[in-house]
């Protein structure tokens, strides 16, 4: 193996050559390179992203030596962007690294088109006002954006993109696509060549459970007016029926069949599945502006209504199961052939749709169509509100719910044994925004300087109450202790918190760029107090 392939071996096993190629094409911009920013970027440089641009206008101070690994004593007084960039380059020489000594806030104000050149912008340690502005800029330019912020023991991560579609969501647990209760003609014919009542004990215990279940499901349906087991009692009887076919009690294939019998009971087609929502939502009308994803969804909708008979294209793989080699391999071929046939139908339908909207019928590659057909049941669509909308009009019932603490009042006694209220993450969210408002009013963050803590605490409380009123919420939900805590943090950027927040941000970036796995939804609040972090869907 060539050296880069060896170097990236452990991650290629996760996102494959395609994912890696996407990373290597990506051009990433980092705004502010304190520990949160530089740790985020570090994780991406190690993974081999194409290019990075570090934007920061500040000089390295002595205080930075206590929380940022990318600067050292010789850096004091130098451009922080330059020092961080130089260290990052050291980590991976194939990454194109450059820096710009400019304050991100100024770029946002004076040069919004600057951001259009990147695949993705990572904005760290920005205050609310700048976040809102940058979010608009990137949304209009269709640039993926992610915010990351560390503040004392809390953190904030939020994705900003209108819509992110995923074909290869690679879920950990997903029901196999075996069609045990809805076999296609070739599978039925294949199972008909096998006799479950064979007296050959070796053959009997090497019949794969797929065949056992397809046949027994058919047998059941024939004696139950075409229906499959639905009640608990019927399901039990179905399992008994499987058991009755066993010759000896140690036949692994029959045990596997009983364990897998739930796959027979699962509903046919896509009713109730996430896919139904995606099809209903986007696949109505497509035009020349539609993305490849939505064109394929439109074709999928047609497929399901026509050739699929309610089902998606077959995925085409089967799990390992007790079987003779020959039966297993033949079964596998049967599934693959059906998947290939379904893919060809999809390809034709996609070609026709492309022609209809005035695009080259071959403009979506075979590889992509194949991957789409294979993963049709696992598609994912993520959408993110403009952060301005979230800030000005958060989803009211959700916010109320997050802020409500069932134990509120009972656990607030001033003793050291108390358990943190369940609404802590939501409280931190409100207080971070209040701290930004505080900063606008008083030109410093609450608790940033020693000596005026009491004043800052009461001012932050007033500010937070004002914010909650503006959001139409009852302000009693905020605990005094938490307000206190926020002032204690004094806008500090602790390395361990920054490393956590930066780690989360970089992982989301990888999912966004590779278009694999599903990015987080909502706003992630890291609660470093007791680690009960939360995703707020506002």
């Amino acid at each position: 193996m060539a050296e880069p392939k060896v170097k990236y071996d452990r991650q290629l096993r996760i996102w494959g050559e395609q994912g890696q190629a996407a990373l290597e094409k990506a051009s990433i911009c980092l705004l502010n390179c304190g520990p949160t920013g530089s740790e985020t970027l570090k994780n991406l440089v190690l993974g081999g992203v194409g290019s990075i641009t570090v934007v920061d206008g500040s000089k390295v101070e002595v205080g930075d030596l206590g929380n940022n690994f990318m600067v050292d004593e010789s850096s004091v007084g130098e451009s922080k962007a330059k020092c961080v960039c130089a260290f990052l380059q050291e980590l991976n020489d194939v990454v194109k690294a450059k820096f710009i000594e400019d304050f991100p806030e100024e770029l946002i104000e004076t040069n919004p088109s600057f951001f259009s050149q990147f695949t993705l912008v990572i904005a760290t340690q920005l205050v609310s006002d700048s976040m809102v502005k940058l979010d608009r800029i990137c949304r209009e330019a269709n640039i993926i954006l992610i915010f990351a912020r560390s503040y004392g023991l809390m953190g904030f991560v939020r994705i900003g993109v209108k819509e992110h579609t995923v074909i290869e969501s690679k879920p950990d647990h997903f029901l196999d696509d075996l069609r045990l209760n809805n076999p296609w003609p070739e599978l039925t014919r294949f199972t008909e060549t096998i006799d479950l009542n064979t007296t050959d004990a070796v053959v009997h215990k090497h019949t794969p459970y797929i065949i056992i279940l397809v046949k027994i499901a058919e047998e059941w349906a024939n004696t139950h007016g075409g229906n499959l087991p639905s009640t608990r009692e019927e399901k039990r009887q179905f399992k008994d029926l499987i058991k009755s076919k066993m010759i000896t009690i140690d036949e692994e294939n029959y045990k596997e069949a009983m364990e897998a019998s739930f796959k027979v009971f699962s509903p046919r087609g896509i009713a109730g599945a996430n896919l139904q929502k995606i099809i209903d939502d986007g696949g109505t009308e497509i035009d020349s502006n539609s993305s490849d994803f939505w064109v394929m969804v439109a074709a999928l909708k047609e497929f399901i209504a026509n050739e699929g008979g309610g089902e998606t294209p077959l995925e085409g793989s089967i799990p390992d199961m007790t079987s003779s080699t020959e039966l297993y391999v033949n079964l596998q071929k049967n599934y693959q052939a059906k998947a290939e046939a379904d893919f060809l139908v999809m390809e034709r339908r996609i070609g026709n749709l492309l022609k209809k909207i005035g695009r080259d019928p071959a403009s979506i590659s075979k590889t992509n169509i194949k991957s789409f057909s294979k993963n049709a049941r696992k598609l994912a669509v993520c959408r993110y509100r403009l952060i301005e909308e979230e800030f000005n009009s958060p989803v009211q019932p959700e916010l109320q719910k997050y802020l409500m603490d069932e134990d509120h009042g009972t656990l607030q006694e001033a003793n050291s044994l108390k358990v943190l209220p369940e609404n802590t993450a939501a409280g931190l969210y409100i207080l971070l925004r209040a701290a930004d408002r505080f900063a606008v009013n008083y030109n410093k963050f609450p608790g940033q300087f020693d000596g005026v803590m009491d004043e800052d605490i009461s001012r932050l409380k007033t500010t937070a109450v004002g914010l909650l009123n503006d959001l139409g919420c009852n302000s009693s939900a905020l605990s005094e202790d938490l307000i206190n805590e926020m002032c204690r943090y004094g806008a500090s950027e602790l390395h361990a918190v920054a490393a956590f927040v930066g780690g989360v941000a970089s992982q989301e970036v990888i999912k966004l760029i590779t278009r694999q796995f599903i990015p987080m939804s909502g706003t992630f609040i890291f609660n470093g107090i007791d680690n009960k972090s939360q995703l707020l869907l506002l």
Binding site: R10, K42, N43, D72, S169, L417, G447, F500, F517, N531
Partner: protein, 492 residues
């Protein structure tokens, strides 16, 4: 400058064994919020060097350590003394200098800890470079612990990291007792289990079977696999130890040999056939070495042949390596997240500057982002963190007989046993020189060797389990001699 604040070993020892280090264990319902209370003995000259806020290296950390708060540990005492105690006094051991270890060393160095040691037996490989950010291509082949320690010391001034390039079993048990807290960045169940058993062996119980606070050796453990990971705090005797919740780590499923030999179905079956069956047939007596590329290539080509024979798709060189070496996919981001959580918990446990995790955090970034905190409970009968397995003996039983007994003990099944009593080696299997020195004890009655103490704790180390599942462990035994006057309540 730094030398002034170093303590002589004997001085340090008196803090370790004396009452100055206290583990405050406090229970509210079943929630336990333990923390180490630090001695505030740091030289005043240091404390008075109160740096002006913005010009201090600890500008950010000071906010947390110098300011009071309400959401903190019960014995939190903010101030420069606390910060200086973290700097000068607390000793942290990091186990593993790999994906987690590299991050941990950096994160701990920036969390106010300056006395760190790290132990790792591995050398740097090219496949580490996508996440183990302290290593460069030119470091390949060098010991991980040494390079990691050097790199962090180069960039974070004032930090002292002592590397240990060896196996964890190579260190005497007493080595581990020298640290206030142990942070685990490992990728194997066996290694976690071993360190856990060592840390739990320091645990002592009082006559009411409550753990003695000063004997608790806290551990913070992290682990990752792909986009998933966990971080946990283990306070032996208070929160579940690794063994109490061993079911969280189910054993790896192995393919039945008959499947490999008779009915292969998948690429992995063909690979394991070549690796486990064909290799031995073709190379009589020669051990397979997974790190030898020629060996791997041989297994790969044999697997391809077998797959072709049966019409099985999917054998690749990469998969061959993955199956044979049981490679766990690993990425920088997850390691960063889990290590950061561990380092932060370490800081909180030691300083009390905030609440702590109770007691198990899981992270999953596969579908969206899910974090969950679970409060697991102890297994009251745990062999490892419980008060110890009770062994009743006649006073005439010799050390040799005692050792043989442990082999047949249904709960222990210990072989290759070494025995220590109150820090004294009664019998050691290795090294040879120690074995020779202690051999003569074998024929003496154990009762004599423990100075005729009617009941006491005896520590043994050895290999536990049967057949090929044996692994190193340390066990605490409560030895009681029959017929002796035992009216001192000792719990049973």
């Amino acid at each position: 400058m730094k030398g002034r604040y170093k303590y002589s070993l004997s001085y340090l020892c008196c803090f370790l064994t004396g009452a100055s280090i206290l583990l405050k264990v406090e229970a509210s319902r079943s929630t336990i919020r333990p923390q180490i209370l630090l001695p505030l003995f740091v030289s005043p000259s240091r404390s008075s060097m109160a740096d002006s806020a913005s010009q201090s290296r600890s500008r950010d950390l000071d906010k947390l350590l110098l300011r009071s708060g309400n959401l903190v540990g019960p014995t939190f005492e903010p101030g420069t003394e606390l910060r200086d105690a973290l700097n000068e006094f607390v000793r942290v051991l990091v186990i593993g200098a790999g994906g987690l270890g590299c991050e941990l060393l950096k994160d701990l160095a920036f969390s106010g800890f300056r006395n760190l040691e790290v132990i790792d037996m591995d050398r740097i490989e090219v496949t580490n470079l996508n996440r183990q950010f302290l290593f460069r291509l030119g470091d390949v082949g060098k010991p991980k612990a040494e390079v990691a320690a050097k790199r962090v010391m180069e960039r974070v001034s004032g930090v002292d990291i002592k590397p240990h390039f060896c196996r964890i079993e190579d260190k005497p048990i007493s080595f581990y007792n020298d640290f206030h807290i142990i942070v685990l960045g490992l990728d194997s169940v066996e290694a976690r289990s071993y360190i856990n058993s060592v840390a739990c062996s320091f645990l002592e119980y009082d006559s009411d079977d409550n753990p003695r606070e000063e004997s608790i050796k806290p551990m913070v453990d992290g682990g990752t696999e792909g986009f998933k990971g966990h971080a946990r705090i283990i306070m032996p005797g208070v929160t579940p130890c690794f063994e109490c919740t061993i079911w969280l780590f189910p054993p790896q499923v192995k393919f039945p040999l008959c499947t490999l030999a008779e009915t292969p179905r998948t690429a992995a079956h063909c690979i394991e056939y070549a690796h486990l069956i064909k290799w031995d047939e073709a190379h009589s007596g020669k051990t397979f070495d997974p790190d030898d590329p020629e060996h791997m290539q041989w297994v790969y080509s044999e697997a391809v042949k077998r797959a072709e024979l049966f019409g099985i798709p999917g054998v690749t060189y990469s998969l061959t390596q993955g199956v044979v070496k049981n490679i766990i996919p690993a990425i920088a981001s997850t390691n960063a997240i889990i290590s950061a959580a561990c380092a932060l918990e370490t800081l909180k446990v030691v300083s009390g500057c905030s609440k702590t995790l109770t007691n198990y955090l899981t992270y999953n970034g596969v579908e969206g982002l899910h974090t969950k905190v679970t409060e697991f409970v102890r297994d009251k009968d745990c062999l490892v963190c419980g008060p110890g397995v009770l062994i009743e003996l006649e006073t005439s039983v010799t050390l040799k007989k005692f050792i043989d007994l442990l082999e047949d003990h249904p709960k222990l099944l210990l072989t290759r046993v070494s025995v220590t009593y109150r820090g004294k080696n009664l019998y050691m299997q290795a090294p040879p020189v120690l074995e020779e020195m202690t051999r003569s004890n074998l024929d003496l009655p154990l009762f004599e060797l423990v100075s005729k103490t009617p009941r006491d704790i005896v520590h043994v180390t050895g290999a536990a389990g049967k057949g090929d599942t044996k692994q190193s462990c340390s066990r605490k035994l409560r030895v009681v001699f029959k017929g002796m006057d035992v009216d001192m309540a000792g719990g049973a």
